[in-house]
Symmetry: C2
């Protein structure tokens, strides 16, 4: 029986409010020791994602003021009930390493990363 | 039978020469669409690793000149002959997402990431 996203995802999700700066996002990513940070509206709905890679791109292009200018707005997500192999395939297809887990109101309840899936292989 | 690192690793490894700038590294990471960049000496030996996360940290601390100032110098690596579950455990223990694959002369022959291991789960 395949584990589901809910079995494997991190439930302690750190998000950031839209409207802040790239430097704010960089501090949260640094302190959290992770690479993917979902961006939420003031009603806590998912509106984008900003990653360490986006910050590297902003440094390369010397363009790093507002979070909203450099975040990705079309976010690929997962549902808590999905089996892990489906989600691993979605990560591969989009060449991304994390999927925010959202409910039907676009509220973020978790995040699942290729690190989490790789850990399943470590335990076998 | 477990696959080995050699079966799974990316053989097209992009590296960067030590002595360059953080901006150079950011451009290579952006163009390559990946997060982990091994740093090599002028004799092509592994001397460090710089990641998108390190660049985010440099932005957070407003310190981003030389590559050698912000790269990690003690690099956790893998050997091409190791089974995948051992390598997945090493990634988990160090909370890192990639291991350069080196030969006995510290030359980089590949890189294996948690994305590569997650793809094994997608194929099952
Ligand atoms: C193409 S990936 C390459 C690096 C690496 N695979 C990663 O995910 O960090 C980097 C880009 O993917 C975007 N990205 C990462 N996770 C995403 C997600 N769940 N939905 C949409 N875009 C995402 C980032 O915003 C960034 O612009
Ligand atoms: C603790 S990880 C957290 C983020 C994410 N897990 C990753 O690897 O990008 C970030 C730090 O790990 C370091 N790092 C990544 N891969 C490494 C490796 N193979 N050996 C040593 N340090 C590594 C980076 O240089 C960076 O300072």
């Amino acid at each position: 029986e395949q584990p589901t996203v809910a079995d494997v995802m991190a439930k302690r999700v750190i998000t950031i409010q839209q409207g802040l700066t790239v430097e704010n996002a960089a501090k949260v990513i640094m302190e959290g020791n992770f690479n993917h940070l979902p961006v939420v509206s003031d009603e806590d709905r998912l509106v984008g994602i900003i990653t360490a890679w986006d910050i590297a791109k902003a440094v390369a292009k010397n363009k790093r003021d507002k979070l909203d200018d450099i975040m990705t707005r079309t976010v690929v997500t997962a549902d808590a009930s999905e089996p892990i192999d489906i989600v691993a395939r979605r990560l591969e297809q989009h060449n991304i390493s994390a999927l925010p887990v959202v409910d039907k109101h676009s509220r973020v309840s978790g995040i699942i990363t290729s690190d989490d899936i790789s850990k399943l292989v470590a335990r076998r």
